[in-house]
Symmetry: C2
């Protein structure tokens, strides 16, 4: 281990979560306490903030505000969907980032995000090495999608599952009370390519009466005929029906069963923006099953629901941030901190490290055996996996007005030193 | 006051709320403790359960389950949208109900619902009087829509506002973090004819930075041109935009700006089922304002969100149930219990009584002065009105699995005595 004294940049990327700020708090508190990192800079809006030299000094925030990040949802540093491509195609951006890092003696870079962010961090570390600039780059996993490889699960996932599970319990009781009028309900969850989130709502079903009665995930090809038969079977048994469906359902050919036709139908990464699965299934239930169907789409509400977030998830999010700093101080670079499950019950975890490049290029689908043979509900194996992740509630600080107090950072921007605002 | 000894029926009607079961608990506990009411029957699925003689004995439920109703969302007795018309048009139904009441010596009827339910209860009381059957009929207000006349507010409203306000705070932070990619967000709330619910989310805005930045209600005619200008002004100021819109927005001619085209586009009452306002506004934001827009539609999740329900709302819901029983025991009939505000700060209320017929035929719009001149956000007057209603959180009983335990009644159905199942 060689000691490296220099400043740090911490950045958040991609879709926010209820606990991404807990990871930032872990990084900031560990870095400020280290003795080797004089300044911890926040990048405003992820890697964009580095490219644009929009950095703020987190050491100038109130300590209470940093601690308050642990009960504040979304990305307090600002996030982005700015995509860097290969070193060849985005070389100007990567060089620009190193230019900014050099200007501010940044020797540590902590990037909290999903696989696109791990890719960016990885390539940045490679270029730094090539150019002889000593930089330690660590990735910190974050995604409600839970689709990163190498880690047992991703911070953010437990909280979205806890919130959606209670929501399904509650909306399920609505369908149960009003089945003579509104006989069926569809709830659409996030999950573009994987069914982890939708499957997680299966925890809401403690008895066969409970919602959800049917769960559809992208890993199981969707057929209208199968769906209609599934619905009919549940209606026969219970006289009501509550369905959870991931936004990214695909048919036997692997095509999305519905796509958004709006003016911004693809995001900056070229991902197609999905939506409309709930309305699509509602139409099938009404037209082909023949009962009235309501539909709910929680959208961005689900990934920021701090008011019912998982304490365990939040604590783990903090932990991976803290460990990233500790590992970097010990000389590690080019790694993402992982969560390694030792046991389901009692639930115990430790942390590990994975190569950024491996995480960047992988995607972890929901294992087929986590769904039943019909592909319409979760198995006991999925229950054992997901249940420990939703334990406890993050304590809120409530205002006198009956709503939580979430912090907002002061963001004391530092003086730019490079004289320009972008790459090239 | 004349003493009347006989059984009671309690029923729940219309869309469930987080606290309609608290009202049921208030009725059941007060009635069972009264000494004058030997049996308290629950009607399975509102008035339908009476017509079909589907009654269960609430005295046979565990006392803990009855108490547990206070932390259980939705309608535990079952609800319905079964609409009785005038005494002339629905006479067979009304006579059938009295037949069932006579068969089980039911002398007290407590109906928890909105104005349609108050209408049913009122007419039932009138027919009982005409036929010389001594029956005391009391209405208990319930609606998230908050549109009943004569009462300061309706149980159920405070809880939906508290939940939606925290949700707007949280999803608003998402837009704030990711504005460089997802610049705008629309959240659609319930509210077919009135803007109480949408306006309530204004409480989430503590500073001008906070969501929601724009609120649209049915009481203010919607114009696309005005909306585009409103959006542009917010974007100019903040670079991001969070919009709340009620589902029942109408244009200058009073026409809904969007309607659901599904197979079940009207409900049993002939109300058009709305939906799609969020998608409609999203399309305008993308096409005419020119920024990417996300949208969220919480649907039935919002009215059952016990996991962040208002303690004050729940306590008041219990109170109106309890007072309905006390008033009926004292000889009152044909009345709905109201909440009468004595002061905003400190918030104090008492209860009153209103004629069922008056409540049945009224609808209370959001006063225009509760919205600003532009009709795009709430005023201080609205804030003073709504803020006290969201105080405190209903304590949950959490299971070992990280989710709340909501009760389900055993429903010990009593033996039918009339030998048939419906009217006529």
């Amino acid at each position: 281990m060689s000691r490296l004294v220099g400043n740090a940049v911490v950045a958040q990327s991609g879709g926010p979560t209820a606990v991404i700020n807990a990871s930032a708090a872990g990084v900031i508190q560990a870095a400020l306490a280290s003795g080797d990192i004089p300044h911890v800079f926040g990048a405003h809006n992820g890697i964009l903030g580095v490219v644009e030299e929009q950095l703020f000094d987190l050491g100038q925030e109130d300590a209470a505000a940093i601690e308050g990040l642990r009960r504040t949802p979304s990305a307090a540093l600002g996030s982005c969907r700015y995509k860097l491509k290969s070193l060849k195609d985005s070389r100007a951006d990567y060089e620009r980032i190193l230019e900014v890092f050099r200007a501010h003696n940044v020797r540590y870079f902590f990037y909290i995000g999903g696989n696109d962010s791990m890719d960016t961090a990885d390539k940045l570390g490679i270029l730094a090495g090539e150019t002889g600039y000593e930089l330690r780059v660590m990735g910190i996993p974050k995604t409600i999608d839970n689709d990163l490889v190498e880690t047992d699960h991703c911070p953010g996932y437990g909280s979205v599952v806890k919130y959606l599970a209670v929501t399904v319990m509650e909306a399920g009781r609505d369908t149960e009370a009003l089945y003579t009028a509104d006989t069926a309900t569809v709830l659409e969850t996030m999950g573009r390519n994987t069914g982890w989130i939708a499957a997680g709502t299966g925890l809401a079903q403690r008895t066969a009466e409970d919602a959800p009665h049917l769960i559809y995930v992208p890993e199981v090809p969707f057929s209208v005929e199968g769906f209609v038969a599934d619905c009919q079977a549940v209606l026969q048994r219970l006289g009501r029906l509550f369905i959870v469906a991931a936004e990214g359902l695909t048919d036997e050919k692997g095509e999305y069963i519905t796509t958004d036709t709006g003016a911004f139908a693809t995001d900056a990464f070229g991902h197609r923006q999905l939506g409309g699965v709930a309305e699509f299934l509602k139409a099938i239930v009404e037209e082909k099953v023949g009962v009235k169907c309501r539909w709910n789409k929680l959208g961005t509400c689900q990934r920021n629901a701090m008011h019912f977030a998982s304490k365990r998830d939040s604590d783990e999010a903090y932990l991976v941030g803290e460990v990233a700093v500790q590992q970097a101080l010990q000389g590690r670079t080019g790694k993402m901190v992982t969560l390694v499950r030792e046991s389901d019950n009692p639930y115990t975890i430790t942390t590990g490290l994975a190569d950024l490049a491996v995480v960047a290029n992988g995607e972890k689908p929901l294992p087929r055996e986590y769904m039943n043979d019909a592909g319409t509900h979760i198995t006991e194996r999925m229950r054992r996996y997901a249940q420990p992740l939703i334990g406890g509630e993050v304590p809120l600080e409530m205002g006198a007005d009956g709503l939580p107090t979430y912090v907002r950072l002061k963001r004391r921007f530092i003086e730019p030193k490079t004289g320009r605002r972008s790459a090239g």
